[in-house]
């Protein structure tokens, strides 16, 4: 029972998923590596973004037994037995909007596979839906100045909890720790606090452990994923990319590598890109557990696919938690139609002009945007600044995309209908018209005093 003999002088944390929708066969080689290595190990699975939590809240509203990570079964089925046998705890935020339901599913998987009943901890306290209306909300610095929160539209509110409840769950013998919203790096820091016997006010160690989590939390983004740029930055065997493993020593040494026998690469450049990924001020990377100072950080290659992070410093944590508030955001509609071949630039531009005029003629009160995919789309602005200046004559395969947003579904459907109508009423040669509509949830961030939130660990 390896993890039960903490503290250790070093341990490994492998990451088997970096977002909701990641490769479901990724955790296998990571778990095999951890077992072969033999040092005390934890597997973390990070599957929860701002967007995915909003989707999970939607799913739970539609069905009270849903709202956890949709791929949870696919992710866990191949590895749950191996991890239980080798005493490698699994820590994940795959509970999303419904950690208790996720725990029930894991018990079912274990039962169906004839495994020993896992001890499953559920971390709760992040869900503020019942209390958010009365809470004191401090605007987060990245929120647009002047933004007005319409409290009647709030459908969910979740605080980013820290590492302490995860450490507590492991100290109480959890085989699996299911969380909802926690700061992603806490999925690694929690196991390190428990496994290496670190103190919560040892800011240097909290910073190192947080950076271990930060480098791991996006899965293959440190091992060659989201990195390849052929001819400039080449990555071997992306189809079998290896997911990352951190080796952390009790004294704070941090080494990153990847699962043995896999594709990808871990080097100074993959390390640098992930080190600053979604960091703002590098001298103050704020998590619930610590403020990390990366000003003097450097990455050193110490071997093939092995890097070490040095120079990380820590400062005392803030007195607040970040909270993501989800609001019902109306409906998004998209309609698309293609134009190809001779003079297609002019035909596509004419189609765009017709759509804009039709929305006006019908008096549809929508926020709208038109892209001409194949010429200019994702770099452009909603008011099509780049497209207006662009010479489309050299483009010969264009797809017009109308995106609209409104409070109600019907208005959005009326708008996208105008794209379908181009099949007869638009320019010559339009084809492949499609449309779809989804209900949206907006998110906005605030800070709340830590004293107003109580994280709890229960066993399911």
């Amino acid at each position: 029972m390896l993890m039960k003999n903490a503290p250790f002088d070093q341990m490994l944390i492998g990451c088997g998923a970096g977002f909701s929708g990641d490769r479901v066969d990724a955790p296998g080689p990571v778990v095999d590596h951890l077992i072969a290595d033999g040092r005390p190990s934890v597997l973390m699975l990070e599957t929860l973004g701002e967007r995915t939590l909003a989707l999970a809240q939607k799913a739970r509203r539609a069905d009270p037994e849903m709202g956890y990570e949709p791929l949870l079964q696919d992710l866990l089925e191949p590895i749950l037995g191996k991890c239980l046998d080798a005493n490698i705890p699994i820590v994940g935020n795959f509970g999303a909007a419904n950690p208790s339901a996720a725990a029930r599913l894991i018990h079912e998987i274990a039962k169906a596979k004839g495994l020993r009943p896992p001890r499953i901890a559920v971390v709760v306290g992040d869900d503020l839906r019942e209390r958010i209306q009365e809470m004191e909300l401090i605007p987060w610095e990245g929120t647009h100045p002047g933004y007005q929160l319409s409290k009647s539209k709030i459908v969910a509110a979740n605080a980013y909890l820290g590492a302490e409840p995860i450490a507590k769950a492991l100290s109480e013998g959890a085989d699996v720790v299911v969380t909802g919203r926690v700061a992603d790096p806490a999925l690694a820091l929690g196991p390190l606090i428990y496994g290496l016997g670190w103190q919560l006010d040892d800011w240097e160690r909290m910073a190192i452990g947080t950076m271990a989590g930060h480098l791991l939390e996006c899965g293959s983004q440190i091992s060659g994923g989201y990195f390849a740029d052929p001819g400039f930055k080449d990555v071997p065997d992306l189809a079998r990319i290896g997911f990352p493993i951190a080796e952390i020593h009790a004294d704070g040494r941090l080494i990153l590598t990847k699962a043995d026998g896999t594709g990808g690469r871990v080097d100074v450049r993959t390390g640098r890109e992930q080190l600053l990924y979604e960091v703002h001020d590098p001298s103050a990377y704020i998590t619930p557990d610590v403020i990390v100072d990366l000003s003097a950080a450097e990455i050193v290659e110490i071997g093939l696919n092995r890097i070490e992070l040095k120079g990380v410093r820590g400062k005392p944590a803030t007195e607040t938690y970040k909270v993501t508030v989800s609001l019902s955001g109306g409906w998004l509609g998209e309609g698309e139609i293609s134009y190809a071949g001779l003079n297609s630039g002019a035909r596509a531009r004419l189609a765009a002009d017709i759509i804009e005029e039709r929305l006006k003629i019908r008096g549809l009160n929508v926020r709208s945007r038109i892209d001409l995919m194949g010429a200019v789309s994702i770099f452009d602005s909603d008011n099509s600044f780049l497209r207006q200046q662009m010479d489309l004559s050299s483009h010969s395969d264009l797809r017009l995309r109308l995106a609209v947003e409104a409070d109600d579904r019907q208005t959005v459907e009326h708008a996208t209908q105008e794209v379908l109508a181009l099949l007869c009423c638009g320019p010559a040669g339009g084809g492949g018209a499609r449309r779809n509509h989804v209900e949206r949830i907006h998110t906005v961030s605030y800070l709340v005093p830590k004293s107003s939130i109580q994280a709890k660990v229960t066993f399911a």
Binding site: E50, T143, R272, L276, Y277, D281, E298, R369, T443, S445
Partner: protein
């Protein structure tokens, strides 16, 4: 200072796009976009620092409604981090853009031009 950089002081200047000499990754939190940028060759880092400043990046993303750009330098990483507020037109849960995260915008940044000494040109083969 490397031999190449010493030679650079007497060499001719040429225009390259950032993509030839640097790599970048973009990320988002809410409506805030951040892009980190790193020189492949440490000798070229000072040229990027001198030319790719906050106002140049602001101008390049202005059409997206940016209201603030901040730059943080990380010399030990041959890198810098740009924090760009307002470029995401609603962010991942509110944008009409197909790329609501703004993930692709690292390659928008890499379009910017930089003047470097021709002695430091190495045909784009910066990374084996």
């Amino acid at each position: 200072m490397s031999k190449e950089l010493q030679n650079a002081s007497t060499s001719k200047l040429v225009n390259v796009v950032l993509h030839d000499i640097a790599h970048a990754r973009a990320g988002d939190k809410g409506e805030r976009l951040s892009i980190c940028l790193f020189a492949y060759n440490p000798d070229l880092y000072p040229f990027i620092v001198n030319q790719i400043d906050e106002s140049k990046v602001y101008e390049h993303f202005a059409h997206r409604g940016v209201f603030e750009v901040r730059r943080f330098l990380l010399p030990k990483l041959d890198g810098m981090n740009f924090v760009i507020d307002g470029a995401l037109e609603g962010g991942v849960n509110g944008s009409l853009n197909l790329d609501g995260h703004g993930k692709s915008l690292s390659f928008r940044l890499l379009e910017l031009e930089v003047e470097i000494p021709n002695t430091l040109l190495n045909g784009g083969k910066n990374y084996e």
